[in-house]
């Protein structure tokens, strides 16, 4: 079936089975490999993308559910000025080691700071509670989000 949606601000049409996971469409049909597959069952957040600006697990989303919607992957977020602030903060505070969870972490951070530019540590923990990291022990990530929120404030 032909399915239309927007990916990173470009209209696309893919001809796929409507039950295909958004994750597989992004990686295998559109060849955008920044979005990662960790668990494939909604537990790790590595596959996080934005759908109409809201974070979704792309491994649980049938492509039929995003018809006509705007999907943003890490490749699209990279074009934003917020990305630079967030990525810098992750680099400075040790928020990324192997990097596998990082695209998901950055998207979760981006979405949090859009809706809540000055989160408390508790709010940061809740916002990232669906994103697993096997390397950093999380403190570096929380510090990164806090730094990004402070830096973002200066740029306002």
């Amino acid at each position: 079936m032909k399915i239309n949606f927007v990916i990173n601000k470009h209209n696309v049409t893919v001809d796929v089975d409507p039950s295909m996971r958004l994750l597989d469409v992004i990686r295998n049909e559109l060849h955008l490999t920044g979005t990662k597959e960790g668990c494939g069952e909604g537990s790790c957040g590595a596959c996080t993308v934005l759908v109409d600006n809201i974070p979704y697990d792309s491994c649980l989303t049938p492509i039929a559910n995003v018809i006509g919607k705007e999907v943003m992957t890490i490749e699209g977020i990279r074009e934003s000025k917020e990305y630079n602030v967030i990525a810098d903060a992750f680099a400075k505070m040790g928020g990324s080691q192997c990097g596998f969870c990082t695209p998901g972490m950055i998207i979760a951070t981006y979405a949090l700071l859009q809706s809540n530019p000055h989160p408390t540590d508790e709010e940061i923990k809740v916002a990232l509670s669906g994103n697993l990291c096997r390397c950093t022990g999380y403190q570096g990530i929380i510090n990164s989000v806090r730094l990004a929120s402070q830096k973002g404030e200066k740029n306002d």
Binding site: P18, G40, S43, N65, A127, S129, G130
Partner: protein
């Protein structure tokens, strides 16, 4: 050959259901896991599929004298942020799954999935919530407790779908505990919801629900009724007896998430803690 239907509106969806036995997918957070095979392969649906997540007609929250009405495609995210929804219900949702899943998933999906660990079910039983099922010709209302028949068994005919859930208004005090292995994304080992109303020293309402201790939520109105109308000090003396009564009917099982002994012990401890807090 499997058909995939993406209806534009409710009446089209009901037309399709009148002719095809379909899996209904809302957020997909249960079904896409159940039907997943492996990375890069399509999920295995053995029959037609109807995608309803984007039906805007069913994306609503409104309130009237019957209660709060929540549409079948309304996402947890919007339920949590609505001023119309009772705090008890929001507390339950805030501990369900993860932020991403709460952005995608629906209350109707939690009911439709009929898992013994479905977190909203305990609250829906305790609040006497009901749902509206609709087919092409008509609508019917059914209590959530009567709709759920067992593990993944529901009283839905192939031509019907849930269109809304109604949570009656209440002014209950409540005590909710979900026991899982981590704060986010843990399927309950056990959950407990106690609720009551006291007025001028008398128990006016008492409701007790346990999740994940049996194939469906355990709520026993016969036990509850015996204690409504008592003065609080009389009630306090009855606490050991109440605990004994629940002790007889709570018979959890052991599975990959927990053991029957642990579940039983925690269930009884939570019950006791709740009962002693009633004032």
């Amino acid at each position: 050959m499997i058909n995939h239907f993406i209806p534009k509106n409710l009446s089209e969806a009901l037309d399709i259901l009148s002719n095809h036995d379909c899996y209904i997918i809302a957020g997909g957070t249960d079904l896409m896991v159940q039907k997943h095979r492996s990375s890069g392969l399509l999920p295995t649906f053995e029959k037609d599929v109807l995608y309803i997540s984007n039906l805007e007609e069913l994306n609503f929250i409104r309130s009237d004298d019957k209660g709060v009405h929540i549409g079948a495609t309304t996402k947890y995210r919007d339920i949590s942020s609505s001023e119309l929804v009772p705090q008890l219900f929001k507390d339950v949702i805030s501990e369900l799954a993860s932020p991403n899943i709460r952005n995608m998933a629906t209350l109707a999906g939690n009911i439709g999935n009929a898992s013994p660990a479905g977190d909203t079910l305990v609250a829906l039983y305790v609040l006497d919530a009901y749902l509206v099922l609709q087919n092409k010709e008509s609508k019917r209302e059914i209590l959530v407790k009567d709709f759920i028949k067992g593990v993944r068994k529901i009283d839905r005919k192939p031509d019907e779908m849930i269109t809304e859930i109604v949570i009656p208004h209440h002014d209950l005090h409540y005590y909710w505990k979900k026991v899982g292995s981590r704060a986010a994304e843990s399927i309950s080992k056990l959950s407990f919801l106690g609720a009551y109303i006291t007025k001028e020293g008398i128990i006016k309402d008492l409701r007790i629900g346990f999740g994940s201790v049996s194939i469906t939520v355990v709520r026993n109105r016969d036990i509850e009724k015996q204690y409504i109308g008592l003065k609080i000090d009389e009630f306090s003396q009855q606490i050991p007896e109440i605990i004994r009564k629940y002790d007889e009917i709570i018979n959890p099982i052991t599975d990959q998430r927990s053991t029957k002994d642990y579940r039983k012990k925690v269930a009884m401890n939570l019950l006791k803690d709740f009962l002693t807090k009633i004032k």
